[in-house]
Symmetry: C3
Subunit: 380 residues, 3 copies
């Protein structure tokens, strides 16, 4: 590892997008599924962990719990259980070296620890990112009229974001991206859509939750997010199978990005893979658009060397942000951070060695991606 | 080459998707076109072989016929003719080290040797893969009524697949992929479509063959393939120019894959390039979906180092399958196998050296992709 | 660097697609924006030059003006101003080692030097590439009737291209690509479209210019370009934000390419990124289609090592062309040329070292991409 790699290895990171961790100890099957985007077990006799993301867990996590790197996953889980979820989680999160966490609180429930508990375990400051759809769903869960919804939503969003540093859209999971996203739905359309939603699909599930799945309302809450004025994080690219991959291509958001530009609101395209080169172009040509490495780096594991390089083909250095997208498992925070330090450090180290990046710029560029861009963009 | 590379170099491979070889000796122009996806000669004075696929042939094949690697293609073809097609073919196929072959018999005709002849030349066991569209075309060639087609097709498919290990769809070459593929066409729609097809386009060509080109029927036979219960191979991604590349993106099959999931039938996405990262995501999130490296590895030649890496970014190791997609030229079998051994061996070797893949796992992972996944999935 | 790298380092290049340079000295803000595809300044305190394209400028240009490689951009611009735009431009352009330039004259105006001045500064021969849309716009600027437009356009195109070696389409910037491009618009449709265009949108801007933005007319002029018989360059892939990236995918041109094939007219897909693998497939399967590296190589900077490799996965060597797409800044010509020499030289050198490319073929392949393909295709 070059000196540049060493620089990245020691940088405190701002995790610009993550989720709460689980409150208890997952059983092995739950652990395996939580580690990837799969929600169903793979063929009998095979584990979802037997792939790049699982190798990355085995590479980066066992040493933190006192086992050799590459330890079999069974040994690792046994050691994890022996230490207890709290102690193992604390060690893993501390080893990630995260100074601040931006926590999307849209995934909530009794099985998850609070953001404050996550922050304490990680030894990091915590900031909230409010999921736009969840605010609407909570309104429906508590009861709201179709005619009062739009105003109630704006009030609820204002109240929910008093201390937030950003809002987040999961439009990719609801209607996908299309030209229509560029159009702010009219009050009449919103009222009709709310009426339909409340009457037809906004039924509570067993946990008492409803799901905002109406395309008009999904666009409405995104535009309310723009109006709120905080940076808007948008899930793009891969994720779990609830999304339609072909409709999660950030290039399909181009008309929306152009329409939102006059607002001056910063927009961060999360994940992006496998459309990350298109996202890089959007970040180059739109002054308000940035891209976030979260999820991708941890999921592709060792291939992050190449994939981060692809993210960096067009994206200005001031527009590229580190995050882990960690969720449920503390391992995902450590893997996201360690793989980023390793792969981005290698990329910069190679660039310095090859005369691509002047040595005097390396630390500055590393610092931008690791933390400084997030600090500026989210006003931390 | 590392020890890991050596492991892959010696593995017996199961060629999970290939075609018959030509019965005779191709002339140089035919050889050049058969080696790539082009079907028309390139600019005067230039050969279709002057590119990555041609370099791969010159790299891997001449040594097997007693010439130095990199021999000019003219020298190579002269040597090939000197040995005779049978002896050259035997040497090339044996050098590929294939233990079993899954042969798509949908491309048939007097110019091709039988699958059994291929197996004998290769010293490998042979299993049949039945092309769904061809079964329908044979019905039309022999005469079938519109009203009797659906039942006759199911009967013919059952008869044709008594000894088959899989069926194959070339929907990409007929209507391309769209949301509609997820819908099983109704009996009425099928009857209307058959009537139209038989009346209008199911005319025999000079060789007495008809072509199934109706989109409804193309979907119908795919769903009959699902009903048959054998693994379904689907051509996705690039191929020859008869397909529309933009409509061969496997991500466009997502609704179909979700609709077919309850059947429990394994689905293998063939080729995938340049959409292979999207295919990897489908293989991660759908328990019944796998991806196959055939065609791609041989066509991109030396670039397979990077391309196989991209395939392996999200795909679980139990879902990635080797094949050559060899067709007509024995060279394509050797190139597919040799380039795979070389490039996948390098990838695993680098991963072991870098601490990504524990050395104790390397042989197992290599074996999964080389043969074990195919053995399990196709029940060999 | 290997001997192969040295071969590429010394090759005279034909710049198969570029634009005029600016007549004067740009101020720092203008310089920064001209160096990338952005047209708006990035976040306060950050420069569009702080990214891959800016690093490439700092790597390749300062040594030519007597500063060390990697010099800060401020130092570089001060030195540039000290030398004067003319002297700095001459040095930069000479250092690019371009023997001939194909200049798209569609971007014109008093702020730009003439193609002849560019040629003199570069010490290179100059050939004209006529932009199809600009010929129509000039007709509208001078006054043309709707009924006389089609004939007048053909006459004007013939006159404008008497000495041209190619025509160019910027359809990607007007209507984007779709199936409809394959259909030659009927005379009636053209007449209607001209009437609408002249009446509604063909209003001169402050500089007295009009913009051809009607989709029917954009297709009409493309087909007139095919009829003209000269090679047709088509902008595909990324560019500035006036284009819709999702509609600039060259794979969407497949029906057009098939429809234009009988004409025998060579078609060159420019830029292509991030759809360059799709473009490579089009170049493999269509005998009349080639791909051009311009813009991409300079913009992705050091990542060109990987990106050129991706271009070369399917593209036959006789179908891959070097260009810079240089525009306004002489730096873009040097960066395009130097990065190409460096990255393509590395690729070929690695291929020779690995036994992929026989050493005896390396110089020939390098020469094809650097100049010989352009010489043959454009009849230079």
């Amino acid at each position: 590892m070059t000196d540049t790699g060493a620089v990245v290895a020691d940088l405190p990171l701002i995790d610009a997008h993550c989720h709460p961790i689980a409150a208890g100890t997952p059983d092995p099957a739950t652990f395996a599924l939580a580690a990837t985007e799969a929600d169903v077990a793979p063929p009998a006799g095979h584990s979802a962990l037997d792939g790049p993301a699982g190798l990355a867990i085995r590479r980066w996590c066992p040493p933190v719990l006192g086992l050799p790197a590459g330890a079999p996953i069974g040994d690792y889980l046994a050691r994890r259980a022996e230490l207890g979820a709290a102690e193992a989680g604390r060690r893993l999160l501390r080893a990630a070296g995260l100074s601040q966490l931006l926590v999307d609180t849209g995934l909530d429930g009794p099985e998850l620890a609070s953001p404050a508990e996550l922050g304490t375990a990680a030894g990091a400051g915590v900031h909230e990112v409010v999921r736009l759809e969840r605010v609407a769903e909570r309104l429906a869960e508590r009861g709201v009229s179709a005619s009062g919804f739009a105003a109630a939503y704006r009030d609820a969003l204002a109240a929910a974001t008093v201390d937030a540093v950003a809002v987040k859209s999961v439009l990719a999971y609801r209607s996908g991206f299309s030209d229509e996203v560029a159009e702010r739905p009219s009050p009449t359309k919103v009222r009709t859509a709310v009426g339909r939603w409340l009457a037809e699909t906004a039924r509570p599930d067993r946990a008492g939750r409803v799901r905002l799945d109406d395309p008009v309302l999904a666009r409405f809450v995104l535009w309310c997010g723009i109006d709120r004025g905080l940076p808007v994080q948008i899930h793009t690219g891969f994720g779990d199978r609830d999304l339609r991959l072909a409709a999660a291509d950030p290039a399909l958001l181009q008309p929306f990005l152009a329409a939102a530009e006059p607002s001056g609101v910063p927009i961060v395209l999360l994940h992006c893979y496998p459309f990350h080169r298109r996202a890089g172009w959007l970040a180059q040509v739109f002054p308000h658009v940035s891209v976030d490495l979260g999820l991708t780096v941890g999921q592709v594991g060792a291939r992050a060397d190449a994939v981060i390089g692809e993210f960096a083909e067009l994206t200005p250095f001031a527009k590229l942000l580190f995050s882990t997208d960690g969720y449920a498992l503390p391992e995902l925070f450590l893997v996201g951070a360690a793989q980023f330090r390793h792969s981005f450090g290698r990329l910069l180290g190679r660039w310095v060695a090859d005369g691509v990046l002047p040595a005097g710029d390396a630390e500055r560029v590393a610092g931008l991606v690791a933390a400084d861009n997030a600090r500026r963009l989210y006003g931390l």
